[in-house]
Symmetry: C2
Subunit: 415 residues, 2 copies
């Protein structure tokens, strides 16, 4: 038998999907127990030199209205028209696999409900962690656990930039320029460096692990664009590194605490050595303890191979839906991030730094002073005790009113 | 609806399976879409205080002949009678899940074939890596990859011992005694420290990744019992650590190169920081590159939760077999380990160590000398170039004939 599929979008990931399916045609047929054939590729551009040149179409309706197409791989990216296309496919009896984290983070609950109603699959292993298996392990392998929390380095671009700052003392600007030159960062890098990409991914993981949709707009998100080499040095003297972390934990109240921001990570943490463009995701289960998944979080072939693995899974389950599902969320499901309790790193300037440090020490009931080589005389840096972030912010306000200028704050992770 | 299961064996893992099923009864029912009820527990001992006291049976035939029992969890361990029981269950229409690596490594191909013939599932996520998801990720998530190789720290007991030797300069004997005291090592620790346990696990992973059964007897296996603090120090001065590694790679000939032995691991490797009782498994795929899985490789609840995840998967697929399968192996499928090409660490003694080092240098065409503090005057240590192990062994023979006593050799990994 033969299963016919369509690919929507022939960019980096889409052409990778074609390549993986073509190169591994025999082993994939063996594993899927069916031959998988690409019937259409949707793209507005022409690709006369592609091995699939005869399969390109520009009109989505050709795919939608062809009952032979059972599975559609959506790898266009962006929310529109990806959402409308995916929705239409699911309503027309086609299973969908996608690498589109923006789509899943914004519309996952809605699309999963449509898939369930129509007894179809909507799979998205490639939307988080590229080629690292993470969606399936959380939903299947850890099914006998209650997940307590998840924390991850979920964006390769920012991790590359931070690694260059940490290991080679490059400035943020130089590291970003290098990332762009190497093709790791877009010309417009906002989605990466401002944390939005990582935020979408932790939303997807949180939705999956706890069964209710979390929307990116509900998550306090900070990027890495304000970090300096001074902060990197202070993190080192504290005993760790700065990483951009997406983190969620289940609270006793039944709400979740979720955030996406740079964090100080202890050098001994399993996430501290996740460097360059690699991703690392730590899942804390009540039975398994900490399990960590590590690998390349992006790139043409890793991401494409995850999309193809989902296609294979769809083929195997062509008449049986996979039990991937979560309910819709609600505004009160996410706890205010200011209610979280943690230590905070603070870098500040003041006319008299040592007096300011003494004031901070008194205000916070003791702080851990940090030092670095060649610090300007007016600079001070410290880590507070663990306390409610709201209280930390209030005390920092007080410090400001006393003439201490707070330059940067970075949360300290308990990983 | 309700699915009735039996547990065979009520030791550490078996009682953990009962506990996980009991504590998570609601969330498991939600995920499995059915209630899961333990009908029988097979054990020769009595457990009057167990919450399942009324379910214990001593006669396997009660389970075998009860058509209500659809799934059996084998957590007795050992080859006999586990094999006979599991085989009988599969031949009588019951799916089986197991944590028994000895069983899967010795009889996997045979049992998978019986399961296939009877359209049943035989799942064994818990047999490798305890609570770390690894069987399913290799078989499903990396389905679009050709796996090139796998290397792992697969035994927590030996990793604990080596970590104590490396980090705290404990001798092997003291570290083993501590592991026994803490319950990490058995009274008779041979299966762990001689490498047999890790060997079984790499056999299972190799069988799964490459589709043909590899038997433990086909794998050259060395333990850690001959390693000394001298070797740990030399590894440090070389730039890494010694770990007990199970490793397999696919050769161009279609044969596999597989081994289980202590290895020098570069400090920068993702496996170098896998310490204490933790396991780490690196899977190299042609599309994903390196993916690493990390977590607790043993223990009551992690292992039990993996068994229960398999039970849930069986329940979901009660009428649809999972495509876990490999063919039987053959004697010529495994390449002679002496044909592998790698560098070798050598520690030796000689009347005149510096003369002996010069001889070694000439014999091997250049060696990297290693040093350590307080080395005896008659000791020498070096790392050879990369060459065929057979040739290395021949040259070491020659060295021996010249009065140089080779004390230890450790392979250098390319991880």
């Amino acid at each position: 038998m033969m299963v016919k599929i369509a690919i929507m979008g022939y960019g980096v990931v889409g052409s990778g999907v074609g390549e993986v399916l073509r190169v591994h045609i025999d082993s994939i047929a063996r594993r899927a127990k069916e031959e998988i054939r690409i019937k259409y590729i949707l793209d507005l551009r022409d690709f006369p030199d592609s091995p699939f040149a005869d399969r390109f179409v520009k009109d989505f309706d050709i795919i939608l209205n062809d009952p032979e197409v059972q599975i559609v791989a959506e790898v266009m990216g962006g929310l529109h028209p990806a959402f409308e296309y995916v929705k239409a496919c699911l309503e027309n009896g086609k299973s969908v696999v996608t690498s589109n984290k923006e789509l899943v983070a914004a519309k996952g609950a809605e699309l999963l409900a449509i898939a369930q109603k129509n007894n179809l699959n909507f799979l998205f292993e490639a939307s988080v962690g590229g080629g690292i298996p993470i969606i399936r392990p959380i939903s299947q392998c850890l099914a006998a656990n209650d997940v307590i929390g998840i924390a991850g380095i979920l964006n390769g671009t920012t991790n590359f930039i931070l690694t260059k700052m940490i290991r080679e003392q490059m400035t943020f600007e130089d590291a970003l320029a290098l990332a762009q030159k190497l093709g790791y960062a877009e010309r417009n890098p906002a989605a990466d460096i401002e944390g939005h990409d990582a935020c979408r991914k932790i939303c997807i993981l949180a939705s999956l692990a706890f069964g209710r949709h979390v929307y990116p707009g509900q998550v306090h998100t900070e990027g890495i664009e304000n970090l300096t080499l001074a902060d990197v040095d202070y993190a080192e003297s504290w005993g760790g590194v700065i990483k951009l972390i997406g983190r969620v934990k289940m609270l006793e109240s039944g709400k979740i605490q979720i955030i996406c921001c740079p964090m100080f990570i202890d050098r001994e943490s399993q996430l501290a050595n996740v460097d360059d463009v690699f991703n690392g995701i730590l899942v804390r289960g009540d039975a398994t303890g900490d399990v960590v998944f590590y690998g390349k979080g992006a790139g043409k072939l890793p991401t494409a191979s995850a999309v193809v693995a989902d296609i294979i899974d769809c083929v195997k389950h062509i008449k049986a839906r996979k039990y991937l599902f979560w309910e819709d969320g609600s505004p009160d499901y996410v706890e205010d991030y200011l209610e979280d309790v943690l230590p905070m790193y603070v870098r500040a300037t003041a006319e008299n730094a040592s007096v300011a440090l003494g004031t901070a020490d008194a205000l916070f009931g003791g702080v851990q002073q940090l030092s670095r080589k060649d610090a300007p005389r007016n600079e001070l840096a410290f880590v507070t005790k663990e306390m409610k972030e709201k209280d930390i912010r209030e005390k920092l306000e007080q410090l400001s009113r006393m003439g201490v200028k707070v330059e940067t704050t970075v949360r300290v992770a308990d990983l």
